[in-house]
Amino acid sequence: MSTENIYATVMRLVDAHTQHEPLCRHLDIGAGSGRLIELFRQKFGAESSACDYTGQLMKLPGQKVDIVNLNNEKLPYKDASFDIVTATEVVEHLENHRDVLRELHRVLKPGGICVLTTPNILNLNSRLRFLWFGYWNLFGPLPVKHSALYSTGGHINPISYFYLAHSLMDAGFSEVKLRVDRFQRSALPKLVFWYAPIRFFGAWAWRKEVRRFKTIDEANAPLVKATNSIPMLLGRTIVVAAAKPKT
């Protein structure tokens, strides 16, 4: 579920983008109550379209919601319709986020950006929970009989930053940027203990990937480096922006 911290981080990324690119039309996927649209209206005066699996959550008077099941339907918009597309806390609910990212790429204008957020499964709390129990924070265990699986509580698709960035680049995006919404205070004491071993073994694995397996190149090196960075180890939610190239 999106929080004010997540929205604030999204707004900062969009604000930086609008310094050099126009923002007229905005699409919010998984619009929910419409809080992000409200913020866009206040700050940028943008015209926003809302898209969600239901219109019942929308609280903004007069805001139309386009009902779309992203698991088996395409976005009901023409190519190159929007300057910015946002999808906060959406991709973890999707069966096929890669296909949805291709749709985002299609409806964005060249030079536009998409901003996505999802729970960070690479933070220390999540890594340690996975080590001991096999589950990441906010990802299960899912109920065995899951009529609730597709409700807003159904996180069926855990994606780490690397694979989210990979999906974005695979869909045609570039200039992937990472932010986190806030640091988890509960992870700070753990960082004191675990940071040195993580950096040491991370560096050892990096060396092996570069020398023996040759799996790290210019394109993926920044993504791999970010995996063990302090924001990644402490961040609660990752906020990722990527641009649709102009040419």
Partner: protein, 237 residues
């Protein structure tokens, strides 16, 4: 796919009867060779357009489901394929569609739950067999993009309409060292406790499977599920 997993699977299939088999992805065709003349085998692969010995063969991307003219099968084997696709639920639903009633689906995939894998994730943020292969999607590279554990497989199998999957034990499922037992111990205790508190027989069965050696220690998961009579759950948003 490691040899011990192949042997375990062949042993398992020896006791089953089937006449039509789909091998997707076919890879080097080891399954066809192992089955011999027991059944007619159709194959699908991303890179090859034909292979000797198969009745029919498609060059096809499994990320888009199965070929439209695919037949009906008693057995579908998806060996080391599910970790390569971005839309695994679509593929599993297509397998469900292409199976005859009471047909069997076998999926093998790297397991992310075994102790070394959990440790690697803690220290590196990557699983073994999931290297950072950005921009290197070429034939022969192992572009694994979707990691699987027993619970994740369970949820996806059930969503696609299959019965509860069973994980086959294989020689490499057994812990070899004390530290492996030690690292898996909290998860084992956790799963056992959930099993004791489970409200239904299905949930109990799930947690028993999650606490098993194949789930907690196996390098590979060999999951077997039957096509159940119940309709698959509809996909939602």
């Amino acid at each position: 796919m490691q040899d011990s997993s192949k042997q375990t699977l062949v042993e398992f299939l020896r006791a089953k009867s089937f006449s039509a088999v789909l091998d997707a992805p076919a890879g080097g065709g080891w399954l066809l060779a192992a089955l011999g003349s027991r059944a007619v085998v159709d194959g699908i692969d991303l890179y090859a357009s034909s292979a000797p010995g198969y009745r029919r063969f498609w060059k096809h991307d499994l990320d888009k489901g199965l070929p439209a003219d695919c037949g009906q099968y008693d057995l579908i084997c998806c060996c080391e394929g599910l970790e390569h696709v971005g839309n695994p639920l679509l593929l599993l639903r297509e397998f469900h569609r292409a199976l005859k009633p009471d047909g069997l689906l076998v999926v093998t995939t790297p397991n992310i739950w075994y102790p070394q894998s959990r440790l690697q994730f803690l220290f590196r943020g990557f699983f073994p067999s999931f290297p950072p292969l950005d921009g290197k999607v070429v034939p022969g590279t192992h572009m694994h993009i979707t990691p699987w554990s027993f619970p994740q497989l369970y949820v996806y199998f059930r969503l696609a309409g299959f019965g509860a999957p069973k994980i086959l034990d294989e020689p490499l499922s057994r812990p070899k060292h004390f530290h492996e037992r030690l690292l898996a111990w909290p998860a084992k205790i956790y799963c056992r406790r959930r099993e004791r508190k489970a409200a239904s027989a299905e949930a109990r069965e799930f947690w028993r499977g999650a606490a098993g050696n194949a789930s907690l220690h196996g390098r590979h998961l060999i999951a077997v599920a039957q096509k159940s009579a119940a309709k698959p759950e509809p996909s939602g948003a």
